[in-house]
Amino acid sequence: MQEILKETSNPQLSLKLLEQVKLLAADYIKKYGRRPAFMEVCGSHTMALARTGIKKALLEHVRLISGPGCPVCVTDQKSIDAMIQLSEGDNQIICTFGDMIRVPGSKHSLMKVKTEGKDVRVVYSPLDAVEIAKKYPDKEVIFLGIGFETTIPVLVVALKMAEELGIRNFSMWFSTKLVEPILRSLLESGEVELDGFLLPGHVSVVIGKDSYQYLVNEYKMPGVIAGFESVEILSSIYKLIKLQLDNDINIINDYRSMVTDQGNPVALALMDKYLEPVDEAWREIGVIKNSGLDLKKEYDYLNAKVRFPVEVREPRKTKCRCGEIIRGLISPEECSLFAKACTPLHPVGPCMVSGEGTCAAHYQYMRED
């Protein structure tokens, strides 16, 4: 297994593949007079494309556009503010993934709330939060559940564990997002011209290859499910160009070691048991119908939104252009705040602070000056 893993990031193989991608892209440019444009819909791909240097190496050959794949970044500012306000309550322990802790709210961040003395903890798994609830039965333990289909099953496993152990001081604040509704919304808006999607490897492990058929049937849009190492990503980009050149509009599973046609039935069944579709607000995109999941009514006792409701004001507008960045309309360098007023230490928007944010990827991996 180690050997296979080693091969997927093999530098010589990557270099050879890179040359092949460039050659094929040249064919495309010759045929259509412009670079092929693909969107990656997964924050981990955004990071990997920047970190490995693929995005930079292909700058002249393939237009790689980062999409709405970073769960923290696409979360509406009002929801972020609500979660921060929630954390200011007493007699409670707020548990969160690390990415949320420095995300700027309208007033301040969770980090600030923590510094002021509130009990805010970074955990690596929601199951740790259930353990904390078990350990502190006198405190209300609330987990901030943010994520796409990759993360949602893990959130649900924590709910199941709390339910089975009869833990009553644990609840979750859901702000989850689904991939299909946002892809549909992007395609229907017609704002970005795309030739295909680099589809998210991790999300696809859960939802399966077949779930993307609407892209082909309804939007005539090809997609390739990609892994995360340089060889895997380059292979998937190659296949995307090839699909377009051959006019073969299809979905290819290029991450077959992990992704099946049907996805993970156990995870999907668990999600179905606890959760139902809800309308979710996306940062500067607005509410998209049935674009998220939240707890079903019968699990109100696990639902932090029901148990600890908070009222927040409409957030004020800032100059941050995260909203345009997550829709693939501009690249971070086009934002006047990028790397000046907005840096990882002093982020103005979530795209700069999240480990999956496009601005963070460009700041960390693509700056020369």
Binding site: Q2, P11, S14, L15, L18, G43, S44, M47, R51, T52, G53, I54, K56, A57, P71, V72, F97, G98, D99, M100, I101, R102, V122, Y124, S125, I146, G147, F148, T150, T151, H202, S230, T343, P344, L345, S354, G355, E356, Q364, Y365, M366, R367, E368, D369
Partner: protein, 334 residues
């Protein structure tokens, strides 16, 4: 003797005296000097290096070391990379009430052993005990004094384009060992901390290699942060080759899982040399004669003398600018 530290061990009275005699003097062996309020030292040098460091590591014992070993190696290494020969150390302890006496002895013995290996004497110290809850077990401060030879030729201003960047071995081992020993991440590895004294190995290099411009030990913030500081301080631009960085497979695995980069993870037994290219082979062969320098490698070059930037060359041939580690290392969420 009680098997736990009590507040009385820090009150300057009988129990405090016994603690000093039975634990510290016994291990550090400075009976004569302990009779004065200060250690009286004779130094034969025109130039003296002084450094101080406090150690608050959690957990106190971890694969490859413990807080005692670290407290000696950390300060000895700071002296050694400054071109000084480490001679004397002081040791200050802040101990939490209720701390286990046998753990304290283990830590003190570990300090004594490491000091002996380094050839330094611990000449004076101090102990304070604080109420339960006011410290995390034990904190140690060590201050070190080293002598600088008149012939010592380190001069960072001589750094020039073409100079080689050499690292003494694999990077990120300490960071991963500690992360894994904390048990918070649900990861288990066999990686041991590289915590080690470096002064003898450095001494061997300095005795025969004349073109060493500067040395640093890349501890917190890792290799990248340390090199950014050198670039910034002396206005040189450097390029690191990603494919040349020595990284253990397990460390790489943890980085992949958690979204870390090994060059931002802490080391406690590594030294960076910036050295004239003509002597890079000589440095490598001296380092590789030492057990702790077996995996020494050339990892980059000085490429400019203007902007003060650090770049990383990726396997695909693109470059990327590296900054200091910013904020806490946070794992990604999906």
């Amino acid at each position: 003797m009680n098997d736990k530290i009590s507040l009385a061990h820090g009150d300057g009275g009988e129990l405090a005296h016994r603690l000093i005699q039975d634990v510290f003097v016994k291990a550090f062996g400075h009976n004569e000097q302990a009779k004065f309020d200060s250690a009286l030292l004779v130094l034969h040098s025109n130039r003296i290096a002084v450094t101080t460091d406090s150690f608050t590591i959690n957990p106190l014992f971890y694969p490859g070391g413990d807080i005692g070993k670290l407290a000696i190696a950390g300060t000895v290494n700071d002296l050694a990379v400054s071109g000084a020969t480490p001679k004397y150390l002081t040791a200050g302890f802040i101990i939490e009430e209720g701390f286990s006496m046998s753990d304290l002895k283990k830590i003190v013995d570990s300090m004594a052993g490491e000091a002996k290996k380094a050839g330094v004497s611990i000449v004076t110290g101090d102990t304070k005990v604080v109420e339960r809850g006011n410290a995390d077990g034990i904190f140690i401060n060590t201050t070190g004094i080293g002598l600088i030879d008149d012939e010592m030729s380190l001069d960072p201003n001589k750094m020039q384009v073409g100079d080689s960047i050499i690292i003494g071995g694999t990077i990120g081992d300490h960071g991963v060992a500690i992360l894994s020993a904390r048990g918070e991440l649900g990861i288990q590895t066999n990686v041991k901390s590289d915590c080690s004294i470096l002064n003898h190995m450095i001494d061997d290099v300095l005795r025969t290699v004349k073109s060493v411009r500067i040395m640093r030990d890349p501890t917190r913030g890792g290799l990248a942060t340390t090199l950014v500081e050198i670039c910034d301080d002396f206005n040189v631009t450097m390029e690191l080759y990603e494919t040349a960085l020595p990284i253990r497979q397990e460390v790489e695995g943890v980085c992949d899982l958690l979204g870390y980069e090994a060059f931002y993870l802490a080391n406690e037994g590594k030294v960076i040399f910036i050295v004239g290219q003509e002597e890079e082979e000589k440095v490598l062969s001296i380092l590789r004669q030492h057990e702790i320098g077996k995996e020494a490698s050339v990892i980059g070059k000085v490429v400019g003398k203007d902007k003060g930037r650090l770049y990383l060359k990726t396997p695909l041939g693109t470059t990327r600018r590296l900054d200091r580690l910013s904020g806490i290392l946070l794992p990604r969420i999906c």
